[in-house]
Amino acid sequence: MIIDELAGIAHDPRKSVDEHIARTGKKAIGCFPVYSPEELVYAAGMLPVGMWGGQTDISKATQYLQSFCCSIMKANLENGLNGVYDALSMAIIPTFCDTLKCMGEVWKTAVPKPECFTFVFPQNRKLEAGVDFMRSELERLRARLEGISGAKIGDGDIERAIAVYDEYRAAARDFVKTSPSYPLTVNARVRHNVLKAAFFMDKAEYAAKLRAATAELKALPPEDGGSRGVVLTGLLAEPDGFLDLFADSRLHVAADDLVQESKQFRVDAPKEGASPLDRLARRLSDMDGCSLLYDSARTRGQKILGMVKDTGAAGVVVCMMKFCDPEEFDYPIYKKELEKAGVPLLYLEIEQKMDSAEQLRTRIQTFAEMLGA
């Protein structure tokens, strides 16, 4: 099935990226979590590549980071120091949290290749002043990308890239809406890897494949394995060994509120705007319910409740990335809201390299039993 092909790409991102570079002659640009203006990279005729850590053994990175740094950034730095990202022409590092601010600075010092581009996302993203600042950052990036490619990025190129990305986002939304009807074929691990493949492929190619994969699924009769659906929330849900525990306990993902997954494609660019960069800037204004984006209304809890209601999920599983303080700050607030609404909640701490995923087995099993799986 096509979903297996996509899931395979997430397991060997290097291969996919190298092949793409060889096949198209394009340059590749690394994009750190959590959001990057990928559309602009795409418009420059380059491949945006997600840099979401990995299951890396940490040794050199301890020269720069204390033990209580999140595992994604430790892994990214370690990989950078080991030359794993040599094929990338640049890495975009945003400044969403204090750890990321340091990462940009450390990268400049410690990692000669790829060079880093610090991108500052405004937090007052709903004020016009914030939109204007975001646009100026996009202009700065545009100029740097033009320097790398040696070619101008026209407004038309950006409009086309936005169209490609909106299509990708629509395809991804359709996939996550469809997948809960196939809890056996699209178990938690498969679902995650299918979505993750987007970070290592040309988005137009990815969207086409994902649409085909979804169509393939829809042609199958719905599966009823007696499995119960849950909503996952957090930064991301990895590694595979952790996700396998869900299928083992007859749980599947009914919807996700993960930064690495649905939050990437929940919101399209607004249809209208003074310029394509304006549309990109205003897309940021429209993205709510994320721990990395200022939101004094704190809509996250309500959004999760909405997902539970819409999908009929039996409960919510918090996948808390250890040492990720923005996520840790959100938890007590939405926890209260979920408890008040009587939604069963399971809190799990995860790290990307988790030898101890097995230790979570009993907790997930008990939760599943409580939900009647």
Partner: protein, 406 residues
């Protein structure tokens, strides 16, 4: 009868008490109270006559009174992770308990948050605003990854200041008085200058100032920068230090200053006197830290662009190159023998560049340094034994270097 002049320490105590009392009184009579981050544009609040308290100050005071643990445990009980900044854990606990032996503060009606110290405060203050259902004004100060503050950042910040003024007008139901703002900006700059001048007197050898006093006066520069009394206090303190320096007096009556060090990061409030005593035991005087400059917010009175730039120039909002230059200059200005780096479990922004800063400063200045693990208010994250061992190591290195004639 001869009029005895009050010492700056006595004035400090009195002013601090009044500062909190005024906020409590305001709340009692139904007025507006703001909670603000430590280096925020307080000028706007002062102009609008809005009383303000600073949760970081209050959390530090709770820590120094060794009261932090119960508040921290309360927050952790509510689901706050041990990983997050302990000021936030203390304060969010206090918000519910509302009773502390270190003094009380009224709950806020308005949140006033400035991200020039970290992104953490955005999350922390967002939670307060959310829990209490009150408005929040955020001054987002883009991290300066370039050496200086860019024009785009300056404009973005200035426009946020203008936006905040509109919000405050609506909240208070009165017009913003720009003449008054100019006045407040003038006083604030003068106070900042006076504070900086006082702390620079520690460049004298021996230093008339022991840096742990610096930590005490810090509470005042946080909450009194925009007030005439604040200016008077720092002028008074400066006068006292000048007099001591003129007489060649060092930091202590009963011991000589033998080594001069800088402390990087926040104090360990619950162990303030322990950490101090260990240094003193070895004749080490902490003459300064990276803090004096944090409140040296200098701009042209009445000019919002220059105010925007000044607030964004805070060293924790600056890049690593600036951080290194900054400390290297302190090493020179204060004739330092060593540096103590506090790897503060609470403060990720300071931590995750500290190793590199240490390496580069050492390469540039040759001055030895040590890093110890601690936390500003969580007493569980500090070990006195480890601290003392690190200080001994530093002392050895400083002695060797001195004997080597450097």
């Amino acid at each position: 009868m001869e009029q005895k002049t009050e010492s700056s320490k006595a004035v400090l105590g009195r002013l601090l008490e009044r500062h909190y009392q005024e906020a409590l009184d305001e709340k009692a009579k139904g007025g507006l109270v703001a909670w603000a981050t430590s280096i925020s544009p307080q000028e706007l609040l002062e102009t609008m006559d809005i009383k303000v308290v600073y949760p970081e100050n209050h959390a530090a005071a709770i820590g120094a009174r060794k009261q932090a643990e119960s508040f921290i445990e309360h927050s952790e009980g509510n689901g706050y992770s041990v990983d997050i900044c302990s000021y936030a854990r203390v304060n969010l606990g206090y918000m519910e308990i509302q009773e502390s032996a270190a003094g009380n503060i009224p709950l806020p009606d308005l949140i006033f948050c400035c991200s020039n110290i970290c992104n953490t405060v955005i999350k922390w203050y967002e939670n307060i605003a959310n829990e209490l259902g009150i408005p929040m004004i955020l001054f987002d100060m883009p991290f300066n990854h370039t050496y200086d503050v860019s024009d785009e950042s300056t404009t973005y910040i200035r426009r946020q200041l203008e936006e905040a003024i509109k919000t405050l007008e609506a909240l208070k139901g009165k017009k913003f008085d720009y003449d008054r703002l100019k006045e407040v900006m003038k006083i604030s700059t003068e106070t900042a200058r006076s504070w900086k001048a006082a702390t620079m007197l520690a460049t004298a050898k021996p230093s008339p100032l022991n840096g742990f006093d610096l930590f005490n006066y810090m509470a005042m520069i946080v909450c009194m920068r925009g007030k005439q009394e604040g200016l008077d206090l720092f002028n008074l303190w400066k006068g006292e230090l000048e007099e001591k320096a003129r007489l060649g007096l060092g930091p202590w009556k009963d011991a000589e200053e033998q080594y001069r060090v800088m402390w990087d990061g926040i104090a360990c409030w619950p162990y303030l006197s322990d950490t101090y005593k260990v240094l003193k035991k070895y004749g080490i005087n902490m003459v300064t830290s990276t803090y004096p400059d944090s409140w040296t917010v200098i701009y042209d009175a009445g000019d919002l662009d220059s105010m925007a730039r000044a607030y964004s120039s805070n060293y924790v909002n600056r890049n690593l190159d600036f951080g290194v230059d900054n400390i290297a200059k302190i090493v020179e200005d204060f004739s330092l023998d060593g540096i103590v780096y506090h790897s503060n479990r609470s403060c990720k922004f300071m931590d995750f560049r500290q190793f590199e800063v240490q390496r580069r400063v050492e390469a540039r200045t040759g001055v030895p340094s040590v890093i110890f693990d601690g936390d500003q208010t969580d007493p569980r994250a500090f070990s006195l034994a480890q601290y003392e061992m690190r200080i001994q190591t530093l002392m050895e290195m400083m002695r060797e270097r001195k004997e080597g004639g450097q």
